[in-house]
Symmetry: C2
Subunit: 457 residues, 2 copies
Amino acid sequence: MNSTSQIPYKIYLSESEMPTKWHNVRAAMKNKPAPLLNPATHEPMSFDDLRPVFCDELIKQELDNDNEYYDIPDEIREFYKMYRPSPLVRAYCLEKALDTPAKIYYKFEGNNTSGSHKLNSAIAQAYYAKKQGLKGITTETGAGQWGTALSMASAYLGLDLKVYMVKVSYEQKPFRREVMRTYGASVTPSPSMDTEIGRKINAAHPGTTGSLGCAISEAVEVATTTEGYRYVLGSVLNQVVLHQSIIGLETKAALDKYNITPDIIIGCAGGGSNLGGLISPFMAEKIRGEKNYRIIAVEPASCPSLTRGKFAYDFCDTGMVCPLAKMYTLGSDFIPSANHAGGLRYHGMSPIVSQLYDDGYMEAVSVEQTSVFEAATKFARTEGILPAPESSHAIRVAIDEALKCKETGEEKTIVFGLTGTGYFDLFAYQKFNDNEMSDYIPTDEELARSIANLPKV
Amino acid sequence: MNSTSQIPYKIYLSESEMPTKWHNVRAAMKNKPAPLLNPATHEPMSFDDLRPVFCDELIKQELDNDNEYYDIPDEIREFYKMYRPSPLVRAYCLEKALDTPAKIYYKFEGNNTSGSHKLNSAIAQAYYAKKQGLKGITTETGAGQWGTALSMASAYLGLDLKVYMVKVSYEQKPFRREVMRTYGASVTPSPSMDTEIGRKINAAHPGTTGSLGCAISEAVEVATTTEGYRYVLGSVLNQVVLHQSIIGLETKAALDKYNITPDIIIGCAGGGSNLGGLISPFMAEKIRGEKNYRIIAVEPASCPSLTRGKFAYDFCDTGMVCPLAKMYTLGSDFIPSANHAGGLRYHGMSPIVSQLYDDGYMEAVSVEQTSVFEAATKFARTEGILPAPESSHAIRVAIDEALKCKETGEEKTIVFGLTGTGYFDLFAYQKFNDNEMSDYIPTDEELARSIANLPKV
């Protein structure tokens, strides 16, 4: 601990210091992310192509590679004030436990009932749906983080929400389901008998416990066939990275307030929304040659899209109903092994993050599950917060970098994103506590097989 | 919402504004809380009587009715900085939803992994144990909030912790158990075969799922028979109210910063630790005639110790191994019905709170479970935080008072304690969501029966 330091344990911006605009990193990118393609024609998706599925304003944001800043509407800023600014925490206790000269900071996004950063985009997407005069929105959820965030935003705005929740999660993880119901969302186990695709899948695979791909297909079908509804998605899309830039903007404002310049910025990467948002303003400076941050994406060794995937067009969903996106992918039929970090079990990666990685602006590392939980436990015991398994990927690499500093004596400043809490992940912690957790790394042959099935574009 | 107001959504004290002393309300009390009595001799417990069970410094605090302020040791202040100051939140969104002229504030203690205010005393008790050179501490836990808080504090200080957890909770509520294990505590289902009393109870009641009283007895036995261990308790005791005064001191500092004087202060009351801590500095002003706050304790109708109990000496535990305390009590063999607010299911009440209530300095109301969950749901949907069932008792009465203001047009300022989050209480929310929750109010005959068994002092 460092009680004499000028830097407090937690840096909170005042409300007047909170960002009033989102940052669109695409404006700074030399190579823009490739456009979404129509899965049938392989032509770029136009505004009109996307209108049956998404809200108008969100499509505008999705397609805009030019405007660097977007005003955050007042109503969204009011909502942000309920749970933001999130603290930028100086990890004094972790530093002491590691006996490192490194200075470690983390941006903690878990202090809200959704338990993660997902709420930042949920409120934005729900707001534009409401503003467009819609009656409701649909979405899918796996473990339930995104669904929870969206149910909170929808309840606040008085918008109807239909969530299709992967059946196995619906049955085995009842807690997040009940949070969503408490916020007034209707939660349906997927595949259901409510939709054509659901009935088809149930008929073809009696007793199936569902998949995210199937739940997406159901949510999209309901949105496009119900008057006054649209579909919303919590990651991967450009608009989501735009909304999540609030994380990076607040982080930067808090660092600037104390004249701190990070050497290394670390984020976990599943679909890329948190990482993309965290690095957004820093990346723009790096691209423009104003600063030279090391930026590191951390992914699970069990689902290594950046480190072992291919940069190519692929389906965003296993149901293949969504547009094609150019991204680092393991193939849309890649089934990740049972890694508990549900939020990182995605075969692809945000096109923005993918392009930035391909252009050499960032590094990527993959880490194994047991070492992630070791880091999570160390962090919990020293910093007092029980981290989400997803976030703990970033903790693992932050600790590794801090330990390198211990060897070299360098006083590097490390910033990482702590995206959420692990309160709903305790079966995974139990496995770790009981020494029943294992690691799995897909073989080259496995990856080659799923990557071989990419669509020919 | 009131975006033009001078008062921010969340008032955070800066680290330099955080309290450096705890407040001992007993110093201001005209009638001091009655002393603990030896259960065998009915003589007041002396420092030496208490030494086999509690740490020396904590006994000193327990017995001290005179010193109004206690310096908070630096090490505890450092720990507090990891999760404090907690925000004092202006409930703009709830006010708007209620359409009330009342101004509602809540002090939110749930932003830490223990999920409640319990951590404030856990770190203090663990610190004094460590400072005394002890190897470890023992405690009991029911649903697990106190055990979780103590495991966090013990992990931070490198102190061994043995938790005896009521067997039915150990088996049916595995999540908090796993949090405690992640923080390195040993968690034993009670009654166990490790202790004499546990073996005795298991022999007498084969297959019993345990009780808090039994778990206390086991924890006390282990503490008093193991070299280098002491027992710690999370509520009821005077020392706990002292540590929890950090809640009230921060609340008062935040209000003072914006020149706000509350008209009504509301807290839920189980053992009284949160309520006692919240009201501490305000109560001292009221006793001295400097201010005239209305102070309201809220308890469950199913366990109404203040509103329907007797102010008399009673056992603190059902096992009758602990000292007698003079308090409002329903009798130590009163078994509350299955009310989900586990933290409020206590037959007695802090002697400090009891004395203040008996002296007329505060009011008490009891509320029924379903109306509490209605208030909890309303709060979650407007303020974004899923509240603990315990805390929701205070929400219920805060809403009721705000609605009275709507009728009269009065712009009263209401402050209530939001002690924690409901993330581990989702079975209860599920019951409410499914309309399967019921209310239970004990009959006069029932209460008369359990109160008739009070010890004759």
